[in-house]
């Protein structure tokens, strides 16, 4: 099989690996770069567990090929707490019970930060809409919404 060698900047660091052209970005992130905070919860691009930022915009990394991300910049959950301290959204998720099993959490936080970045004054309905592609089976979204609202409040 043909091989490809995408170069992808993840959380400010360059990664490059010899991969199959069909490799999904999520597998590049997890297997080639070894960053396992980005999860896989489905095979139909429904769950959002794999959400990362591609050049600053959220994508489901299971819907992108590694070769498509060649030369681009990715931010994953590991990129939010670089010096070891948590970003406000990560803290709020803990404080407001925004997670239980934690599996949806990395994707959820990536999406949540973007929703507020795009629209700092988002209403609850708008926030819900923003999270529509991220499934959580545990929290009923209640703690997640509370966490996002509290980050929003603090920024005001």
């Amino acid at each position: 099989m043909k091989e490809a060698k995408p170069k992808i900047k993840i959380n400010g660091k360059d990664y490059s690996a010899t991969v199959e052209p069909r490799q999904l970005l999520v597998h590049f992130i997890r297997d080639s770069a070894g960053l396992t905070g980005t999860h896989i919860g489905c095979d139909t691009s429904n769950c959002g567990a794999c959400t990362v930022l591609l050049d600053g915009k959220p994508v489901k990394s299971c819907t992108v090929l590694s070769v498509q991300a060649d030369g681009h910049e990715i931010t994953t959950i590991e990129g939010l707490s670089k010096d070891g301290s948590m970003d406000p959204m990560q803290k709020a998720f803990i404080e407001d019970n925004g997670l239980q099993c934690g599996f949806c959490t990395p994707g959820m936080i990536m999406e949540a930060n973007y929703v507020l970045k795009k629209n700092p004054h988002a209403t609850e309905a708008e926030i819900r809409k923003g999270l529509d592609g991220n499934l959580c089976r545990c929290t009923g979204y209640v703690g997640i919404l509370k966490a996002i609202r509290s980050v929003q409040e603090k920024k005001k």
Binding site: T36, K91, G102, R137, T139
Partner: protein
């Protein structure tokens, strides 16, 4: 680092995140037919390499040794549901494993399947060596001659649901120095260990099971499934670590599914509204093999059928029937939501017949004093709880908004108790609990109880990962049992240690504890009956094309004692959304050929944030007699929520609702 901090930082170690040297990735060849003869299998690991049947372990498991309907690890001769494992293939990477599926040749000869459990009762047995597809059939209660003014009859149903934790099933099996080490996404390391030893005939000391961070279980992950056994077997055979991570599609087709129960109910009452008795038949769709809960479930549903009412007479037949579908298993609630649905639907029917208020008819039939049902369930007086709950839920004012209500009894799966190990060393207390966490927040109650009993602060406690090498006896997490018996085991063990210190030093202090070395294990035994009450209220509306929308769900549960209020609330909120999902669309659908129609987590109906209603939670605390005073909680919202929502939809539409999920045609 704290568990939650690891998770928000992306540093969880779920099974797929665990790095090992040169793992083999496993993929499974599965039956494309619901019922088929298999005339031959060429390639992969298959029944010619491993001929064994699944040992029955986990929630509701019974002895399964000579069970003709035990699940074979690899199908041999025939397969009985779409998705049944036939062979397994292995490769250096996950893509390669998927590709290798093509290398296996299976010679199928499709047979006519049976999909409906009611039909399956009279259908030819799907397994050789069985006389019928009925795997359990018993009568509960006593026959009676009712002198009733009113007899109401209905057929009610909860369709099957996929458990759909966002993390699918997964296992990493490693074999070295003659010992098998298993990292697994599980609700019980003990079930997995006992199951693997039982199925593969391995001595207990040759198997170690460690819980990986587990991304939700909801019942499915309490037991052992064929893929676990295949991975373990392959690790031993190839002497390489073997990793299997389920795809979502596999999850939908081959992981145990819950609910899937029919209640044919008959209710006898006086014109006054007083219920005299119930009769009926409960039929559980066991799927293709009789595992764990399958035989037990219908009797369990029947056992609690009278719920919070003082109904004197009951006579119910409880059947579990094989069909050509994925095997049955627990889904959060596991029989409890079905029982409450069947009963409360009949009570609503009676309210409509008599044009009585929903609350009034319920209070009329409530128990005024402790009551033993005709099926042997013990409850306290329910009326005081119900009256308080109606107030707490704001029933009188919400009634005007077409609110529906529902009440239930939570019968927890607390027996036979739980194991715990406390080890004090290097100035810390290390805690292992037999019931492990996969989202319930055990950390919260462990910390609060350790503070209460021993005065320890969170940084003086290390909550350890369940690992069968480090804790010898335990059960697992299901049936709303963790806070009850897990918490009580911890309290009991803590008190034991405290006594030891007092004996030795004449007094207890945290300093004395942390400066010494202790290693104490116990199994806290519990086989009593501590049932609790719950109530829900819901409002809904109809959209432009009769599409229902749930506006608000309120919950009021007696949790005994809330060991952590925030976590109790969060657990309830999550459960409310699952209960809402059951009404709004969650189901695994099969066509008449047993082909799976559900192909994604979205069309399985898992609720999205835009569809989630507002949740209001009221906690009641009537302490239990357990050392930590807790009662069951985890399953309460999945029992009560559907009751209230369907009733609200009935008030809005005037249509009788008989099944979940509710379809648009049910409402017009």
């Amino acid at each position: 680092m704290d568990r939650l901090e690891r998770f928000v930082k992306g540093m969880g170690q779920y099974v797929d995140d665990i790095k090992v040297d040169k793992p083999l990735y496993m993929a499974v060849v599965r039956s494309p037919y619901a019922r088929t003869k298999i005339n031959g299998v060429k390639g992969g690991l298959n029944s010619s390499d491993l001929e064994a049947a699944l040992a029955s372990v986990g929630e509701g498991a019974g002895g399964a040794s000579a069970n003709p309907a035990a699940h074979p690890i690899f199908a041999k001769g025939y397969a009985n549901y779409v998705g049944q494992p036939i062979a397994a293939v292995f490769s250096e990477d996950r893509y390669g494993a998927e590709d290798a599926l093509e290398s296996v040749d299976v010679d199928y000869e499709p047979l006519k399947p049976v999909v409906s459990p009611e039909e399956a009762i009279g259908f030819e047995p799907i397994h050789k060596g069985m006389k019928s597809n009925v795997i359990s059939d018993k009568m509960l209660g006593k026959d009676f001659e009712p002198k009733a003014d009113i007899v109401l009859e209905d057929r009610l149903e909860n369709h099957r649901i996929a458990t759909n934790a966002i993390e699918t099933r997964g296992i990493l099996a490693d074999y070295s120095n003659g010992r098998l080490t298993i990292h697994v996404s599980t609700q019980s390391v003990f079930s997995i260990k006992r199951g693997l030893c039982g199925t593969l005939g391995l001595p207990e000391d040759k198997v170690r099971v460690i819980q990986a961070d587990t991304g939700g279980g909801f019942g499915l992950k309490g037991g052992l499934q064929p893929e676990h056994v295949i991975a373990a077997f392959a690790a031993m055979k190839y002497k390489r670590p073997v990793k299997w991570i389920e795809t979502r599609l596999e999850h939908l087709m081959a992981a145990n599914q819950g609910r899937g129960a029919i209640g044919k109910m008959k209710l006898y009452a006086k014109r006054s509204g007083k219920i005299l008795g119930i009769k009926g038949t409960i039929i559980v769709d066991a799927g293709a093999y009789a595992e764990g809960l399958a035989g037990f479930a219908p009797g369990f549903i029947a056992h609690q059928l009278t719920e919070q009412y003082a109904i004197e007479n009951g006579y119910v037949r409880a059947l579990s029937v094989l069909t050509n579908k994925a095997p049955y298993g627990p889904y959060r609630g596991a029989g409890r939501p079905e029982a409450a649905f069947f009963m409360e639907r009949m009570v609503d029917m009676l309210a409509d017949e008599l044009k009585m208020d929903d609350a009034e008819i319920r209070l009329l039939n409530a128990s005024e004093k402790p009551f033993t049902s005709p099926f042997g369930m013990h409850i306290d007086a329910s009326k005081p709880f119900m009256q308080k709950a109606l107030k707490a839920l704001g029933y009188e004012s919400m009634k005007k908004r077409n609110a529906g209500i529902g009440f239930f009894v939570l019968v927890p799966g607390a027996a036979p108790g739980e194991g715990v190990r406390l080890e004090v060393k290097d100035g810390k207390m290390h805690v292992w609990l037999g019931s492990n966490q996969h989202g319930q927040g055990h950390d919260f109650f462990i910390r609060s109880l350790a503070r209460e009993e021993l005065g320890l602060s969170p940084d003086e406690i290390a909550i350890e990962v369940p690992d069968t090498d480090n804790i010898k006896a335990g059960i697992g997490t299901w049936g709303s049992r963790s806070a009850m018996v897990g918490g009580s085991a911890l309290v009991d063990a803590a008190r034991h240690i405290k006594e030891e210190i007092k004996k030795k030093h004449g007094k207890y202090s945290k300093k004395l504890l942390l400066s010494s070395n202790y290693d104490y294990s116990e199994f806290y035994k519990f086989d009593g009956e501590i049932n609790s009450f719950g109530a829900n209220l819901a409002t809904a509306k109809l959209g432009p094309v009769n599409d229902p929308e749930v506006l608000e769900v309120r919950a009021c549960y007696d949790v005994g004692r809330a060991l952590s209020k925030a976590m109790v609330k969060a657990q309830i909120e999550g459960g409310i959304i699952q209960g809402t999902g059951q009404v709004m669309g969650e189901a695994v659908a099969y066509d008449e050929n047993g082909q799976l129609l559900t192909s994604s987590i979205s069309n399985a109906g898992v609720l999205r944030s835009t569809k989630a209603p507002k949740c209001v939670v009221k906690i009641m605390e009537n302490p239990s007699t357990l050392p930590d005073k807790a009662k069951g909680l985890g399953e309460a919202p999945t029992i009560g929520t559907p009751l209230a929502i369907v009733r609200s939809l009935e008030h809005i539409t005037g249509k009788r609702i008989r099944s979940t999920p509710v379809k648009p045609q049910d409402l017009s």
